[in-house]
């Protein structure tokens, strides 16, 4: 046992005997592992944010987020839902509140900067704002209060503020619409804090009334947010589908309702991640396969020295299996170093450099230097996988060349 340990200890000395080869091997493994760890870190971070966005894990009795989202379809496509459909839903037993919401796409400025305009009823915004502890942690400024006919008050995302020449709270921006009510000049009343959510980046929050004026769409909403009593959502969902589909009112007759519940969204999340696991992991399987070839090539660095070294060991009485154990320990140590450094580099890239450049590749609409705090989670599973892959890569890449040299007669190996 002690002789085995002694042989294993020479493995660490072997790393220092050929520093160029060792460092090139470590670099090659790090180059493969870091994008993988960063990508998986972003996915896990986004998954956590998505869970918060659908209220997964929050107690149902708190009524923080809607239980059902009711929208309308025509010809199989999503269309705005008439506000009058909110009234019958409100009367259903078990429904506590129905809130209309507008979500739409607009462009701003000379460079047509993309934005997502969200309109929530004025009273609802004030009610929610007062229930949130420390609103200043979410918004630098105030919530919008604009009423119908007034100049719109907007809370804009951190990314949008930066793209539009570093807009400040209180700034007035040129009219972004020309509706029947004439031009009105919107005022920025607040800016979302950059670290609260990735989706605030390009978002504009205003009152429902102002959003309806901006889009010049009266009496319509994108969806109806339905809050239900605990344990009632599924029953209410069925009732909405049955009663609104067969309704005799003109608005209901021309629209087919579509109801999305939290359970639907929760089931979509693993499906989306499953797709990622299929495509993203496949790409990295290819990268790992190429990595083995790269390590085989990089094993050529310092190869004459390595051949002579193995030849000397053989000449001094070392057996082939002992040389292979020494090489295995060397490879495992190199793999461990590579994986550890890759994990630390990935963490530094995500935390201190805020996913500079790479977040823009993986997340659409995010700039090279993200204006949001990029969400990330370094899960234990991918980190463990990184260690395994690193050790496997280095071992597979160097085992063959070591074995070939170890079975060569010492005199020939030392030549």
């Amino acid at each position: 046992m002690s002789s085995l340990l002694s042989i294993a200890r020479t493995g660490s000395a072997a790393i220092l005997l050929s520093p160029l080869r060792s460092s090139v091997t470590v670099m090659a493994v790090i180059a493969v592992l870091v994008p993988y760890l960063v990508g998986i870190g972003l996915v896990e971070g986004l998954r956590q944010e998505s869970r918060i966005a659908i209220g997964a894990g929050t107690p149902a009795e708190k009524e923080l987020l809607p239980d059902l989202y009711v929208a309308a379809n025509q010809f199989g496509r999503r269309v705005p839902i008439p506000l009058e459909l909110a009234e019958p839903i409100r009367k259903f037993d078990g429904v506590t509140r129905v809130i209309p919401r507008i979500v739409g796409r607009i462009t701003l400025g000379k460079e047509n900067v993309e934005a997502v305009l969200v309109g929530m009823p004025r009273e609802e915004l004030q009610r929610r704002g007062s229930s949130i502890q420390r609103l200043t942690r979410l918004i630098d400024g105030q919530l919008p209060r604009s009423q119908h006919g007034e100049a719109p008050q907007l809370v804009i995302g951190s990314g949008l503020a930066r793209k539009l020449d570093n807009l400040q709270v209180g700034t007035v921006i040129p009219p972004i619409f020309r509706s029947g009510g004439g031009e009105k000049t919107p005022r920025i009343t607040g800016i979302f804090q950059s670290e609260i959510s990735p989706w605030q980046s390009q978002m504009i929050l205003t009152t429902f009334e102002s959003a309806a004026e901006i889009f010049d769409q009266r009496g319509l909403a994108t969806d109806l947010l339905v809050f239900c009593r605990q344990g009632q959502p599924e029953a209410i969902r069925s009732r909405i589908l049955q009663s609104l589909t067969g309704s005799s009112t003109k608005a209901a007759a021309s629209h087919q309702p579509s109801v999305t519940s939290r359970t639907d969204l929760e089931s979509l999340l693993p499906a989306g991640l499953g797709h990622r696991e299929g495509v993203f992991n496949l790409l990295f399987v290819i990268a790992f396969a190429i990595g083995i070839l790269v390590i085989l090539v990089t094993s050529g660095f310092g190869r004459p020295e390595r051949r002579r070294e193995i030849g000397i060991l053989k000449a001094t009485g070392w057996q082939t299996d002992e040389i292979l154990i020494r090489s295995l320990v060397e490879s495992l140590l190199l793999g461990l170093v590579s994986a550890a450094v890759a994990i630390l580099v990935a963490l530094a890239w995500l935390k201190w450099f805020n996913g500079f450049w790479i977040a823009g590749i993986f997340l659409a609409g995010v700039e090279t230097q993200p204006a949001i705090a990029v969400p990330y989670v370094l899960a234990a599973q991918p980190a463990g996988l990184a260690v395994l892959v690193a050790c496997l890569l280095v071992t597979t890449g160097s085992a063959y060349s070591t074995w070939r040299t170890a079975v060569t007669p010492p005199a020939e190996a030392m030549r």
Partner: protein, 115 residues
């Protein structure tokens, strides 16, 4: 090669491995204050944002599948038709068209009843 250098190398490797382990243990969960702020934001907008896109120009389904049921560029039965969307193909993960086959549990029913 001296035994001292070898010991120093082993110590450096041990430090790196421990540092990586501590980093994973510390960052395996989102920071609680941030989660509370994210929940507050979602409360304000009624739950919005779910996918790997922060705007609607590329593909609304990838911003939030609550807003659209299918990708606008999706070509249905054409092989690899989903890849025709300039948005969907580049994302880390994507939500395909929302149909009953993707749903599980008590919600695995059709969203739209046949008239």
């Amino acid at each position: 090669m001296t035994s001292d250098s070898s010991n120093r190398l082993l110590a450096v490797i041990a430090i790196l491995v421990i540092a990586a382990g501590v980093a994973v243990a510390h960052y395996r969960q989102p920071v609680p204050p941030r989660a509370a702020d994210a929940a507050g934001f979602q409360q304000l907008v009624g739950g919005l944002g779910f996918g790997p896109s922060v705007e609607l120009s590329t593909c609304p389904v990838q911003f939030d599948p609550r807003l659209e049921t299918t990708c606008n560029a999706r070509t249905g039965p054409i092989p690899a038709g989903g890849l025709l969307c300039p948005g969907c193909g580049r994302f880390l993960f994507s939500f395909s068209s929302r149909s009953a086959t993707h749903l599980t549990g008590p919600s695995a029913t059709r969203n739209v009843l046949a008239p």
